[in-house]
Symmetry: C2
Subunit: 480 residues, 2 copies
């Protein structure tokens, strides 16, 4: 009946797909990195309804090039410099194949013990690679530990909800007469004005006030202790209850680092939950030379970063650690009978989400690269960013807009926002390289993020050649 229902057929077609994937990745730099299509392009290329009878596998495969590829932004092209990297490695892809076949849903220990247990141990492995404080390591008796979330947005939301729940508990404990309703509307959360938009969204979801802490170019866009302290005092004076601060290490616009060694003690003294979001930068902390950027973690209640960004573990894998697992479990506990099992009270595991066997890909990647291989990978990207930075600095027409700490270079033409907007439009319309902008102190800035696993010095130099060529055109056309 169907084109692919037997194991025999999938052996054949699966191997074809392996070749198709290898071909795609091997030749990816020949494709325009950014697609040349208009919204709605795809609808007219395929039927309006699903077929009644099966299509052949050959027809489906043919449509990959005809329908899909013309509309793909090729994130793994060495000419992709937009957003931040998303991971893509062969060990992770192999693990994902296995995970898909096992196809267990890990919502409890009993639903697949290996799934739960490997996750806990892999989070310990990774925590040790980052030299996290002992409190965050589960081990066999720890109170803390790690759990995989889908995205950093999820992790910051989960942390905020756990913080809200802890705050309400603490307030009711100190004043048992106080009515529970109304507490939430007094709660205040804080984050940098440079924080990812999902942090603000987390506040909206949880229904709490979320205040943005202003940052300055002169402070390298980092939140300062003094500013946070002042806002807390003002809010307390106004009858509000500060309860959560989300620090960012490596902001999305410019890869800025909040001063957590200064901010942490303030949060601790005020009993404010400090969460650290290091979505992009976190991977670099496995290198001793970048680990100081994480100093201050000892004051945090929770921490997350995305191995699916820069640690070669394919999406999704956002790793989150908490000092006290009970804070998370307490905030989300539900006990229907259909999820009960004999080891319910082992208390060793905490899962707030359904998921596949995501830890398998961590295991494959960590073992097949080894810690040294992963460190080499991070260092190479940072070197390539430094190489790009030197090219920019050597050209008097351009300026660097923020410190280059890791793999992101923020730069612009000395001149108006208009001239920079035009330059970026030209760059992306050329479709040979792809970048996105950010805004820093009112200036339109170009972000150049080293992204692909296969990016080499020659790609960086070629990108710079293109950028300067287009800049010349733009500067001749526009006043700057």
């Amino acid at each position: 009946m169907n084109s692919i229902v037997t194991c025999c057929q999938v052996r054949w077609r699966g191997k074809e797909m392996v070749d198709l994937i290898a071909d795609y990745l091997e030749n990816i730099e020949q494709r325009p990195v950014y697609p040349d299509v208009e919204p709605g392009y795809l609808r007219s290329l395929i039927p309006e309804e699903a077929p009644e009878e099966p299509d052949t596998y050959e027809d489906v495969v043919k449509d990959i090039e005809r329908v899909i590829m013309p509309g793909v932004t090729h994130w793994h092209s060495p000419y992709f410099y937009a957003y931040f990297p998303t991971a893509n490695s062969f060990p992770a892809m192999l693990a994902d194949m296995l995970s898909g076949a096992i196809g267990c849903i890990g919502f409890s220990w009993a639903a697949s013990p290996a799934c739960t247990e490997l996750e806990t141990v892999m989070m310990d492995w990774l925590g040790k690679m980052l030299k996290l404080p002992e409190d965050f390591i589960a081990g066999t008796h720890g109170q803390g530990g790690g759990v995989i979330q889908g995205t950093a947005s999820e992790a910051t939301l989960v942390a905020l909800l756990a913080a809200r729940s802890r705050a309400v508990r603490m307030i009711l404990a100190s004043d048992p007469q106080r009515p529970e309703t109304g507490i939430t509307s007094k709660l205040v959360a804080y984050s940098s004005d440079q924080a990812h938009c999902s942090v603000e969204r987390a506040g909206m979801i949880a229904g709490v006030r979320m205040k943005k802490i202003p940052t300055e170019q002169s402070d390298k866009y980092a939140v300062q202790g003094e500013t946070l302290r002042r806002m807390i005092q003002e809010d307390k004076a106004a009858g509000l209850i500060p309860f959560y601060f989300c620090a960012t290490l490596g902001t999305t616009p410019s890869c800025a680092f909040d001063h957590i060694t200064e901010l942490g003690p303030i949060c601790n003294a005020e009993k404010i939950w400090m969460h650290i979001d290091a979505a992009y930068a976190g991977s670099s902390f496995i290198c001793p030379e970048f680990r100081p950027l994480l100093n201050g973690i000892e004051f945090a209640d929770s921490f997350n970063f995305n191995p699916h960004k820069w640690l070669l573990v394919n999406f999704d894998c956002s790793t989150m650690w908490v000092r006290k697992r009970s804070d998370l479990i307490g905030a989300f506990k539900m006990d229907p009978l259909y999820l009960k099992h004999d080891h319910q009270e082992s208390g060793r595991y905490f899962y707030t989400d359904n998921s596949l066997f995501r830890s398998l890909k961590m295991w494959f990647v960590f073992r097949m690269y080894g810690l040294k291989g992963l460190q080499d990978y991070i260092r190479k990207h940072v070197e390539l960013a430094k190489e790009f930075e030197s090219l920019v600095r050597a050209d008097q027409r351009f300026e660097i807009s923020a410190d280059v700490v890791l793999g992101l270079v923020c730069f612009r033409l000395k001149g108006s926002n208009e001239v920079n907007e035009t330059l970026l439009k030209r760059i992306n319309n050329g479709r040979k390289i792809h970048l996105v902008p950010c805004q820093l102190s009112g200036q339109f800035v170009l972000r150049f993020a080293v992204c692909a696993r296969t990016t080499e010095s020659r790609h960086i130099r070629e990108a710079w050649r293109l950028i300067t060529q287009l800049a010349e055109e733009v500067m001749q056309e526009l006043p700057h």
Copy 2:
């Protein structure tokens, strides 16, 4: 340096992995379906830290059988009858391989147009298969449409948040002087006492009151219009604001169906957002004979079900439709500069989450099975459940505890809860078949869900043989 870094190596190892997966699925029924391990079993089997230098690929592969498989609950064994099914098909696995290689993150149209567009069109295909009202189909000019979420829990949360945002907007529009703070604490959401625990959790996350509507065995565990109407009136009289009702079609305990033709008009009249969660049952609505179960959808604001449960699309793929896309977009809109692009205002797309290219697996599955193949698949599972039901009914010692509508049979020994708990424990300790319980009207009930793609009549008969054999033992040992 690393074991697998080149395309050449992945061609070789990828093909080995295809065989490994095919071998696993071909021989899965020889494995004990439920693992015989104690909590903590895995930690001692692997090192405490990641290796400095890469391990060989051979060592990693060997560890799949040594470390992982002993702790896996085999969800795709034809002897797995626990929870609800989770999908596993070869077309979906092939699509996932491709999706992993493309590895684009679909957080905006520009981030990969094909990803956004195929999703919108696949949601239309699926909506048409289900014969959803025209309002839910995006087409080229529709106001509604579909979006893929990770899980049904996410979908019900997203719907509740959109409903909360709409409710606050409506209240402020009718009374512009009213302070916004404090509105949330007056909002009331409703769902069945049979609804999935994630519905209650969604209420906790959003910080609103969530009331459970009692159901009765005599009403087949369905929410009745009269009950909802009464609760709404009482809450309004108490100064609260009813704003959201989550109906369930196919509850987790017993696959009960709320009376949405009765409940929908009540919600519409009261301006209450009606969301329909048909996580498991939804897949069956592609068959004309089961489509009447969805009658009343015309009153709903939003609807979701999980093709990753019963429609052969591997996890994760929870499909959600809304009547007005603007309700969702409005509730979550964030516009940082790094996400802006030229087609920002095309208004055709709405995404509230990061994701991989999840629509690819819908496309592969729908095309390679065809609508008829998918219908056959659903019908076969329902037939197998009916076969099991007949076996139970033919045995005077047992009783059926709830109507068998689709692929779930709720049954028990006529006797005490203790005797049924003991029976279930024996069944699962035998590890040949796996079931989980539920509670219905205070009774401990066994749930038998037809789950695996490869389950046949012979597996059902073998399962029944085992159950009756163990029941005999238990009845001899225990008073009943």
